[in-house]
Symmetry: C2
DNA sequence: GGATCGGCTGGGACCGGTCACAGGCCCGCG
DNA sequence: CGCGGGCCTGTGACCGGTCCCAGCCGATCC
């Protein structure tokens, strides 16, 4: 072991165990046909030396790193964060490792992140693609490494893992409509987000399905502040508001209550996300729960299939659920 | 380029540009003393071939991966998450890459995560060590890769980047005390967290510094639900509550209001974290803001110093600030 | 004019694993 | 007693970069 301070190598182990490096390799990779006694000697040597396999060397020859890359947004919202966390857990369960980097939605930045991960030799990439511009960055990206899209909302079929946004929006709207509301307004997220776009569309569809005229849509940016601002822009005849996410709903309620209106007495509010804060806001928020962990797990399944050249499992969206709390009431 | 489907190698580029692989390497690494004309030819060849350097090969010979590892908790709270995000950004700015894995606080799990990262050849590790048990996992971990602790609260000096918890707790307490409150109760996080421990101690210190007797401390688990539960365990004589974090404060306020008490009319509440939801909760929450991004940046500075064998910059804690909103009022 | 020197380039070993292949040994069989 | 065939093991090439060293060239110097 006369190599700098690099730690023992396979040859050192081999020498100590009195075998060849190849035998050590076989033990490490669980190859059959090794005499138990030999195997034990090798294992003992590994232990004594504190040997640890060098993955760079391994990756160099195999061309596989057993690592998947993840690209998330610069500003981490609860959704992407939870999803990537789900990916990480599912990957670890599958014996894979994860490497994460972030990128703002500009194509340039996404391309950079992609290049970085490909350069690191990841076997597949999970890309949070809530915004259309992120997906556009992939145009002409004909790399040999498969890319799975996350949280596209179910817009494009194909290699993507998402929550069914239309279904979620319909859940919220039907809840409000079933309570008797007809003047329902929508505070949406930025239209650059596919999810916001889909929730918007479904808002309109849900209204017209009941023969109702949609009210003007107020555009927010997902933050509590923008929800607060939306409060003063609300249609005075509205008796219910479907908010694009919980944070905006919280801000909106704050504005409403400040203006002397009672929630849900005067006006009902429903959110989207089921954040921790929504459980105990005043009033506790009726909202749509999304299982981000399931999205992550599904993404990993897709990546493994893609990596191994298998047919991808049939596309399937994760179904959201409605959580009824106290921010909504019958008209 | 007759190698499987591995993409072009340095030799392919060299052949195309009519130079040696060594010259290509020099161009790639910005070595001086290359004729501009030669350099351009190489660059052109790289571009035409879509060549990309194989980092596994590079890491194999240099022994450096230009990557830092991060270990976060299984359940991602806002603090660790924001901090790791800060590490990621600062690392990228320094030309380093990050690889993240998570571990539950059990020593076993932390050791595994450590081993994994060391095996991947990271140059340094940032470890979220809010809980004492996490730090204990490092006993006898004499690896050659430096480990920086995150969010220890400033308890142990040394290779750690944290926010000054004592100062933050003092900020919250002095605010309440200056408003004239004397019956102040504390809802703390789990004592296994150093941060919770430090906030607790400072609560007691702040009280006795003014000659006041501390009230019984209620123990929560950081969640809104535990804050809600704390609401019914509150000392009836308390006129103010210092909560260990915003989520618990939100749950507590919910319980209080449900029980018919007014915040801040009957009782003042201050939180800790400055989460997005706290800006527009009802009432908007007075809380302590922590600059997690700065912690991340500081951690990266420490890691670079450690990696290069430099003397670590003198230990310094990030100072929190008080954000006054509407959940507190004079007695 | 020959030696020296600096700018620029090439040749080969090496990092630490995996893979393909070639044995050595011992057994059973004819 | 010789030979084929498992079982188990060793040998050497190779992955794609970086590092060390040598060599070429023209210009400068004495």
């Amino acid at each position: 072991m006369a190599n700098g301070n690099r730690g023992p190598s396979m040859h050192d182990v081999a020498a100590r165990a009195g075998v060849s490096h190849q035998t050590v390799s076989r033990v490490l990779n669980d190859f059959p046909g090794i005499r138990p006694e030999t195997r034990d000697r090798v294992l003992a040597a590994i232990d004594e030396l504190g040997y640890r396999r060098n993955l760079a060397a391994r990756a160099l020859v195999t061309g596989r790193t057993q690592t998947i890359g993840m690209i998330g947004p610069e500003i981490p919202d609860i959704g992407p964060l939870s999803t990537l966390h789900g990916v990480e857990r599912a990957a670890r369960a599958a014996g894979l490792h994860t490497m994460m980097t972030s990128a703002d939605p500009a194509s340039e930045s996404v391309r950079e992140a992609l290049d970085f991960l490909v350069g690191r030799g990841v076997d597949a990439i999970a890309l949070v693609a809530q915004q259309r511009s992120v997906r556009e960055a992939l145009e002409g990206f004909d790399e040999r490494v498969p890319v799975i899209h996350l949280l596209t909302g179910g817009d494009p079929a194909g290699a993507a893992a998402s929550i069914d946004q239309r279904a979620g929006a319909r859940l919220a709207m039907d809840h409000l409509l079933d309570l008797g509301h007809t003047r329902i307004q929508h505070v949406s997220g930025p239209p650059s987000y596919t999810e916001a776009q889909l929730r918007r569309e479904e808002y309109g569809a849900a209204m017209s399905d009941r023969g109702l005229e949609p009210l003007e849509i107020i555009e927010g940016d997902w933050t509590t502040d923008s929800g607060f601002a939306a409060g003063s822009a609300l249609d005075p005849t509205a008796t219910a508001v479907f908010c694009g996410n919980d944070d905006m709903a919280l801000g909106l309620i704050h504005a409403l209550v400040t203006a002397g209106r009672d929630v849900p007495g005067d006006i009902s509010v429903v959110g989207f996300d089921d954040t921790p804060a929504s459980r105990h806001s005043l009033p506790p928020l009726t909202t749509v729960h999304q299982d981000f962990g399931a999205v992550g797990a599904w993404a990993v399944a897709l990546m493994i299939a893609a990596r191994d050249g298998l047919e991808p499992p049939s596309a399937e969206l994760i179904a959201p659920t409605l959580v009824e709390r106290s921010s909504t009431a019958p008209l």
